[in-house]
Symmetry: D2
Subunit: 286 residues, 4 copies
């Protein structure tokens, strides 16, 4: 068998025989299924799957794509196929708080996140990140004011297009994307919301949580949509707090939750484990 693996993800209206048809199609072009996850949503009657396969003998990718295309047409299937060796091109947007950035950079450096970091955009100047090793990474300082917002978003979009960005990560980027940009980036822009949604939406959620006296705080990674704080949730996690914790302690504890929730979401997204299902997600966790 060859070394390369491929990830096929797809969704389509459910009907009998989908698995058989896809499995047969892959088998016929010499594919060997290594891992498979599927989910049948009885509410929407949609079927979702992620299949990792390789080729028994020679890579037969062209024939495979042709066969899948034909099948997809018949099944009204939306599908993606990519080699695990193809690294996703990721653009990171960040503001002053850099804990998520630091975490992503570290995981990328040691090879845990198999991505290309194709750029970092910040509304703060490069000096903010002087302790990070950004050598070899394009950095754009795009300060945002109400007056410049439209223009700066245009530049972000230009970067996305020019560098063929696969995924935009809002790593505590404290600017709200316009409806227009959100829509253009639908399904390929992940935000970390520093709260356990839908608990405390909006600004300063840790202060809100403190005021309410909750006993757990959390964070939420979600796809960005025009409807702020309402995008499809990918991952959430929490940590226990107590009456002793002041807002600053919540912010400190929150940093740990945020970075691990965001990095999981990015990891799963690039590994083809997250599929959109309307305003929800299907996540085949690792």
């Amino acid at each position: 068998m060859t070394a390369s693996s491929y990830i096929l993800t797809f969704s389509c209206p459910n009907r009998p025989g989908i698995v058989a048809a896809v499995a047969r199609t892959l088998f016929d072009v010499g594919g060997n299924i290594q891992e498979a996850h599927q989910y049948d949503d009885v509410e929407t009657n949609l079927f979702f799957a992620r299949i990792r396969f390789n080729f028994v003998a020679n890579d037969n990718l062209t024939a495979c794509r042709v066969a899948l295309s034909e099948l997809a047409e018949g099944l009204t299937m939306q599908w993606k196929l990519r080699a695990t060796s193809d690294k996703a091109r990721v653009l990171i947007l960040v503001s002053r708080f850099d804990h998520c950035l630091a975490d992503l950079l570290y995981r990328w450096r040691i090879g845990e996140l198999a991505i290309d970091i194709s750029g970092i955009v910040s509304n703060h100047p490069g000096e903010t990140y002087v302790h990070h090793d950004l050598s070899g990474i394009a950095f754009d300082h795009l300060p945002v004011t109400p007056q410049t917002k439209e223009q700066q978003e245009a530049r972000i979009w230009q970067i996305v297009e020019d560098r063929q960005i696969d995924l935009v990560v809002l790593a505590r980027y404290m600017q709200i994307l316009s409806d227009d940009l959100s829509t253009r980036l639908a399904g390929r822009c992940i935000n970390i919301h520093h709260s356990f949604l839908p608990g405390f939406k909006g600004a300063k959620p840790y202060h809100q949580a403190h005021g309410r006296g909750v006993k757990l705080i959390g964070a939420t990674a979600h796809y960005v949509t025009a409807d702020l704080d309402e995008g499809p949730i990918i991952e959430q996690d929490v940590e226990r707090i107590s009456h002793q914790d002041r807002p600053d302690d919540l912010v400190r504890k929150g940093r740990d939750i945020e970075r691990r929730v965001l990095s999981r979401a990015v990891f799963w997204h690039i590994d083809g484990r997250v599929l959109l299902n309307g305003r929800k997600t299907v996540v085949f966790r690792d």
Copy 2:
């Protein structure tokens, strides 16, 4: 030393010397501090403490109460003193779903919850609970309709008074207490809210959570106040769910969270570990 232990809980405006004064007072009447927790809320400038102590020689309770009274007056202190051997009298209110009731009964039977169950009130008939051993426990069937609600609440209050109830537990009691009764039971009525507040308030929170596609569900135990779902939170916990979980699965998984959150809240309350701090709580966890 004698076998009995006493729990002193108090709160007062913070000022230097409180601990020294209380410790000295207890020492002077022959008390030996076995365990102490304290918390100084810098926002409200209130001081909270829980002290477990026994007497080195003979129990000197009368002198102890007199001394504490004097001290309390000087410090504008609210305080409670009880022997750990005095079991709290608990009234459980329940509706059709009996998982929290079953859990409390079991913990009580094996001596884990050192309480007296002074009665069970349900808006469902006794047959609902035929699989539980309620022998020796007063059971009142008080069905509630809009017309009878006031009258039935009067009977509940009568029970609370007649039996000198220390704590009312709403163990998935699906009736909303009136503002009046909530107010009378302030600080001694614990509800289990089948949601991670303030995520999904109101009815059918697991269905709401399912609709929103969250990745964690939770439950919240809180003191009942007139402001529904807004009472001081005592304890919360969560469990991970996935896209595979249907509303019924959430309800099933929720039962486990609800019963452990409620039993912890009750356990801590009767052990003097929960102190009210405005609309929040101070919880000295075990």
Copy 3:
């Protein structure tokens, strides 16, 4: 479509085309795959799967079994097929501590565990369980001494055979099964070990944990094998403890972990989610 669902579980040496072949086989007899999990163990080169399906039109079970038999022969496949409406017959063995028993009984009563409780065997007399409603459940008091152990195990085995028991649950049964009985019950006898294995094997693990000063305690559900405390692990969970916890507190907190770990293991086992893989398990969690 018909209402009944079927669970097919199987394992076999891995080779290309297994999924395609099984999916095709089911499709050909009118089956519709509703849910599928699979796992390819690259170390042992074994393939594991669980497939839930129903029939599009009429239930075609006989043809389905015939087709699967043929396929299984070709693939050297071990397989099981059962209707979700067929309840597993479960025998519970218990000793003095009844918290796991109480938990299983409750989940069974409310329909959460879709099993038939075909009997309870205890080395303690029936009076021990007077607070439980055991009406309609066969109860056998089989006290064990070194002298009677062989004979009592023979009676247990007789019960297993006579009542066609599918699963034996050791719900804190404080007798060690003989190698012989363990072997006969291989893969259908689940034990709850009151420790996070392999941390503290053997007797009084909570006391061992206390002595060592660990900060988390746990419990382990595993299949029983002749090699005590070494059987394939199905599920584990932990809870945080502190220096304040005495051995009794660990035992108390341990009860909660034990019952939830055991009930999950039983739930997953009867739902066909646990497959044996040598001395390990494959668990397709719900």
Copy 4:
């Protein structure tokens, strides 16, 4: 009141009146208790406390130390007093895996860990850490062979003495300290053990865990003692794994557990929250 806070930690044989005496002593020198934790170990009959206080008017530290000295003598008390503004001097020992180092450096840079990093010692050359910003931090490359071990440990000890190191952190330092050095660093050297002790001691614990098929993996931060892997445990945590995880996945998931467990242990140690109690610890968690 003045801005500075002080942390007093002490332990002594338990007897009535300790809290009263200490509280009185602090009060008499103008101290105001802001936070207090205490623990009475009934097994060893030792009493442990941590008290944070400030001075109502002027800092009266000399008088305070004199008064505490006298008291300590009478109570056979071991005690430490330090200003929260005095930063602990920390030496980090590291080998090739730098995830714990990266984490500690980040927390230090943003002020979360209020320490001075007084040096980094590695048995690997400085180039290993080229992506970290080590500017301003002394770095010593001390490669260890069986022949040079004694000599290199002497140099480490020299560094500890010269720089008045308060705490040595073994941040995945893959060399076993000699009994002699372990003993000299007793109570001020924290190791992260990449396993949930006492589950899998020794080398390659994640591979051991994989082989055993456990469902949770963990990490343990403990004080270093001559008895390898047996030092007093400060903190532990776990993460859920599944049959899908290969040893490499366990190593990856383990990194996250290790860094958060180690950073918590260091945070609590420097904040005076960890007290030694024989081969166990008392941890007043934040």
